[in-house]
């Protein structure tokens, strides 16, 4: 049993009833917070990620400032390709750059299955520090990118609207793509197991580019690796899969062993529920841009969103990461509205 004081999200993920939906926000430890910007202006991206004290401080900021129901580790999905041996640069305010991406079978020789406890020790240390500093107040969510999304960056070498080179790589060299996806999946399983051992209470897998694939390609290049990950982890800690845009595969994903599925705002909660079935927890899905509305609108839209999900089996969140230009009191209005909405049967 958990010794965590506010274990609302753990209860929901275990299938237990709660008096309201727990709430957190993707990218809640980030650029909309002035306290984060202070650290961003002093330290480079990888300094912030790779210095456990900094990562822990940033992770706890939204817990202190907004009283969210869970902390999510401050880190980046691209620590995995970096640990596998690829150079990863983060160009501030621009995005990632991998100057020597994977294009051929030769390039695969440049990457390895890393010893994650060694290469990513700073993540486990940050998790341990977070757990100490949280002192049982709320659960800590660890995370990793889905193999498909990590492949996108490893092959394309940078952000892209279409990830055309990554997709063309898969269509042209499917066996090479599967070899790479398997290496990423193996690394990710080790990495997430280490996060759980270090103290992460929940794990979220971000498949940010799932929505670029037609259903058949998602079933081919993404889902099998998500399934491996959830199967390897689910008996240790609950897993949340956020496969952004993969609405056509909600039914499939509901059978993956994940405890919850994240959904974006481009599907109604009612449609998502009918596709995913009655059993699984759904997480989401307010359009992040709604937090730029006036506060009364935010309260109205959040209340409407909560009603659409109905009571139980829901973790309130945005449908994607919070935007950097959201005022803190707007984020607070979202969080507080969820907290004020007690389920009718209570």
């Amino acid at each position: 049993m958990s010794k965590i004081k506010n274990d609302l999200i753990l209860k929901v993920l275990r299938g237990e009833k709660t008096h309201r939906a727990p709430v957190w926000m993707m990218r809640q430890a980030g650029r909309y917070l002035p306290q984060y910007m202070d650290l961003k202006n002093k330290y480079s991206f990888f300094e912030r990620c790779e210095t456990p004290e900094l990562a822990a401080t940033i992770t706890l900021q939204p817990v202190d400032i907004l009283q969210v129901d869970a902390a999510i580790l401050f880190s980046d999905i691209l620590v995995v390709p970096k640990a596998m041996g690829l150079e990863v640069q983060i160009i501030e305010n621009k995005g990632p750059l991998l100057p020597a991406p994977i294009k051929s079978v030769e390039d695969l020789k440049r990457i390895t299955l890393p010893d994650v406890e060694d290469k990513l020790h700073f993540v486990m240390e940050a998790i341990q520090l977070c757990k100490q500093q949280l002192d049982g107040s709320v659960p800590l969510i660890g995370f990793a990118g889905a193999p498909w999304t990590i492949l996108c960056y490893m092959v394309q070498g940078k952000g892209s609207k279409t990830f055309d080179e990554a997709k063309a790589f898969c269509y042209t060299n499917p066996s090479l793509a599967h070899h790479l996806l398997q290496m990423i999946a193996d690394t990710t399983i080790r990495y997430l197991k280490a996060q759980a051992s270090a103290g992460a209470d929940v794990l979220q897998v971000f498949d940010s580019w799932a929505g670029l694939l037609c259903k058949e390609d998602f079933d081919t290049f993404s889902y099998p690796y998500l399934l491996q990950i959830t199967q390897a982890l689910k008996d240790t800690v609950p897993v949340i899969i956020f496969a952004k845009g993969a609405w056509q595969s909600l039914e499939t994903l509901a059978g993956s062993g994940a405890s919850a599925l994240g959904i974006d705002w481009c599907i109604t909660p009612e449609t998502a529920r009918s596709m995913a079935g009655e059993k699984i927890v759904l997480q989401g899905n307010l359009d992040p841009v709604k937090l730029l509305s006036p506060i009364p609108e935010i309260i109205k839209e959040t209340t409407k969103m909560l009603a659409s999900f109905g009571a139980q089996k829901h973790i309130a969140n945005l449908g994607h990461g919070i935007l950097p230009n959201v005022p803190v009191d707007h984020a607070r209005a979202f969080i507080d509205t969820v907290k004020n909405n007690i389920y009718p049967s209570f």
Copy 2:
């Protein structure tokens, strides 16, 4: 009756049976063609758009080179905000820039309902030239952006992953947003009527950013204006609506009076058909990145796509614009595969 030799697409849009699906590609007059690149290197974007001889030459290139079943006018959706009085720059290889976007009620004073025959005379002249030069070989498709998509650019002032400022404008000033949307819709109706009068045989409305809106917001800020446009035009020429990503509204859109609905590759043809109903023509939906696959794969995937749509009520196309890095013979493999797939009952 049409005097066009290859009137396959017109027949399909009229609900008549054909021996195969007609085929064209969004952005077929564009950067993947070396003949287009020659002109791109000599003339600026607006020179190409606003010089009827150049626009007509570019429009006819894919008809000559690939023998597609329809020409689509070479132009840009942003000629409309330009005609309404906003400065529009196209930064080559980067995208649009509107240096003085609409942010307030004051800014609305800077735009007007233009006399489209005057401000956009070059479009009508290009259409007349195209019709002369096509000499009845294939139909000509005219087009415009949907009011929601045009508002995105008029308010955001440039391309964006989220169009957060445009959406926040709508959420914060809904009455102002509706006023602007109505001005764009009124201009667009005049513009499309003028295109039809000049000789366009079919009109496509591109709602490229429909998929950024949750269903309720699409119903509020996009659909009413699409409906006005189709209702105003449908008795003159058939209208195709391509509301990219608006899969949740296919049923609604099927009742708009449009003759066909475009779909992207992120919905299966079977699901789209079940949502849109049996009556309407569907257009799409091969993932444009598939054209970077080896040719045998392109043939396989195109054949599979055709089978998923089934016989009749289908216009073969990509699920979005053709990418600049597609080899011409790959595009030809797509076109030829469609042409070689005769419906079984024939």
